[in-house]
Symmetry: C3
């Protein structure tokens, strides 16, 4: 097996870093300064800008663009056509002061459903789940399930992806407890 | 005219099947096991995975991805950047049991508006119409017009695409009758 | 500096016009009859059809498709994966009469946030701002901020992109007055 597998149509600019075991599909474009971890999967047409950071074992489905100031931690799933941003007030002209890019962080084990939009300046908590087509404008708590435009919390999800029952237990055997506004694993 | 016209930048993997008369535009990628019918039009950047099925005379506009378990019947229109899915609980790790992909079927003559999101496990009925930007999470009845996030029914549409009046008649001359929750052509 | 910089993977069909100083990124496709002004920036995967018109100093981020009948004036910002349309009742078959494409116009200085959907037949007014993930189905007034699905007005924005306060003043020093339903610059 190659150190990493890069499709011949993909463009990896000098200065982009890709970890071992990562697969890069067709028409992908990684700019100088992009950093992608080990054992990731970057689907067709993915674009990674300099300054974007991607951890290990991350799935990035087709058509996703990761801009400067976007940080993806390990074990995250990013669905097809999920769209990130890094400027809350984009203008082609007349901007004063010049663009301040705002960071976005997606914490370990989170999932972002297909075609969701993530407005910059937010943190998506560990193991949270953003429903397909949602528009996220606020922070998402750990293990929270959010859906809609704008995205609102509708429940809680397990590490395994299934929705928790009213007792915060999962069919997979895991169980959780509330700690204030947060959810923690019961051990 | 060629049997089918494939742009030189398109990638058609060995084992992908394309019917006669189908046009394949730039930067398209068809994987082994993809099956596309006759006289279709696959716009720039379309991606068709093994296991996806596309009928005859289907229009697939730019940037659409058709995954394993997605079936498109004949005469369907899929607008630009429409996003399908095949897993309701995607995780990059910790999934137990392993991913069960759920099927999606788009029935004959349906239209899906631009940038709509289709959550898997649903059937879009014959000649239905999904409004642009909608997020579909439930089955859509035949001839129904659905819009919004989540998508809700707002009316009925004709075979020709126009909205039906209160008497279920269309300016094109066609007329329909209710049969319970369903709509049928009056003949 | 070159007259314009075109990435070697971009496809510029004979009959497409590009102004001086415009940068064309990877996997872009411009069809015959497309017209793009000076000092624009067309991100990866942008598609411009014949009949589309783009003014000067326009930013078109990755994955945007500009169809026949779409007109973008000068100094406009179009975010990543913004989706335009040119047919309100698309069908792959059975259409009668044949498709009438409806125009969309984006006026000078407007911004369209990431992954927004623009249903055809509308005008987006000068310096307006469409929030990320919004679905626009109506005209947008000059300087209006619209968000949601369907997009509704939530306030007013300055030339510089910042939201105006209740007195219609901006932190950048500009101020505005209402003229009926419209906003004008106070001088």
């Amino acid at each position: 097996m190659p150190k990493h597998a890069i499709h011949p149509t993909a463009i990896v600019e000098p200065g982009a870093l890709i970890g071992a075991g990562t697969r890069v599909w067709a028409f992908v474009h990684l700019l100088a300064g992009a950093r992608v971890g080990r054992d990731c999967n970057l689907g067709d047409g993915v674009f990674v800008e300099g300054g974007a950071r991607v951890g290990d074992r991350v799935t990035v489905k087709n058509g996703v663009m990761l801009w400067d100031q976007v940080t993806i931690e390990a074990d995250v799933f990013i669905g097809p056509h999920v769209v990130f941003t890094n400027d809350r007030t984009p203008r082609a002209a007349f901007k004063k002061p010049p663009a301040r890019f705002e960071p976005t962080r997606v914490r370990r084990g989170a999932s972002i459903g297909a075609n969701a939009t993530i407005v910059c300046g937010v943190t998506l908590g560990p193991s949270c789940f953003v429903g397909a087509g949602s528009v996220v404008v606020d922070d998402v708590p750990a293990h929270a399930l959010v859906v809609g435009n704008p995205a609102r919390q509708k429940g809680w999800v397990c590490d395994c992806g299934e929705t928790l029952d009213d007792g915060l237990a999962c069919t997979c055997g895991r169980a959780f407890v509330r700690r204030g506004a947060r959810l923690q694993r019961r051990r």
